[in-house]
Subunit: 191 residues, 2 copies
């Protein structure tokens, strides 16, 4: 069996959401499993000097338009939420508190809550409610969970992750859902 | 006849070079002409707060790798030049000094000189030599040419251009060669 695809993403990232909706079918087609690895762009931006898309002059307006068009292009439901973006440390902690086999379902539920239903996943109560709907009861105040989440985020930065989605296949990195075309060719045969 | 595609690009942009090599065949396939519109990212970055790709932590290293892989993906010759990037105001002026029918040939010659042959198109003499090889003798010191170039760059920023390539079709903007898939679908039928 080939090694799994490492799928890094941020819960406040629309392009991460699009990727999350597509990656499992995509990976399965190429005989790969997916390791889901949420990270925090706030921590990433401290290292890179980056900032959320809406804060960039010109690029911010373009991006909001592009997110909506990209959703239509990929055939996915999408509504730009307010507020956008939000801090997603609670969402991340809920994910890392969850058994591996239920992590993908929780990730997709959180994404859909935010980008389809417009729920504020920056709020702890909302995260707990979404987790609860899947039968999960994460203790988000647990200190070892906080440490685990922090170390996962630090590991993503050490791996070079600077945006979302960011996919690594056999040490080859692909940033953005718009690299799925190159990723697909790579999975068939490295070039 | 449908309106032409507005093709904004910067001469120091590898992704602009890839787009320049593909856009004419691409546009012709959809019954469109192309209006080539070089701009200056230095002026753009003053407005957006952006900076050249190599200067970004993490993203800089990724980008250098991605440029080379993208060249292979698109089947184009490419060698990351040194120095990179360079200022391209002389290249821009040479372009705007040139009759419309010869502009695309000059743009492609400048791009290939920089990204295939490794010539420094930041230097006036190199720009003049490349123009000369096409039978062109632009007067780069001409003050009305400087004004023309400046106003074209300002117009690009007023249009919302924040990166390269940036393509506008019937007021619909597409940033990046990785939006050619959406652009292609849009040309067939707006969605």
């Amino acid at each position: 069996m080939a090694t799994p695809i490492d799928f890094y993403f941020a819960f406040a990232s629309p392009y991460g959401y699009f990727a999350a909706e597509k990656i499992e079918v995509f990976a399965a087609k190429h005989g790969r499993a997916v390791t889901w690895r949420p990270t925090l762009l706030g921590a990433v931006f401290k290292v890179t000097g980056g900032k959320p898309l809406p804060e960039w002059p010109l690029k911010g307006d373009y991006s909001k338009h592009d997110m909506q068009r990209s959703a239509r292009f990929h055939g996915l439901p999408f509504k730009l939420p307010t507020p956008f973006p939000v801090g997603t440390v609670s969402a991340c902690r809920a994910f890392y508190a969850t058994p591996k086999d239920k992590q993908p379902a929780l990730a997709k539920a959180l994404y859909r809550a935010y980008f389809v239903d417009g729920l504020n996943i920056g709020e702890i109560d909302t995260v707990l409610k979404i987790a609860g709907s899947l039968g999960l009861k994460p203790d988000l105040a647990d200190s070892s969970l906080k440490e685990k989440t922090k170390s996962e985020v630090e590991a993503s930065i050490a791996r070079g992750v600077f945006g979302s989605p960011y996919i690594v296949v056999d040490n080859e990195p692909f940033w953005g859902i718009d690299r799925f075309d190159q990723l697909e060719r790579w999975l068939a045969k490295p070039f």
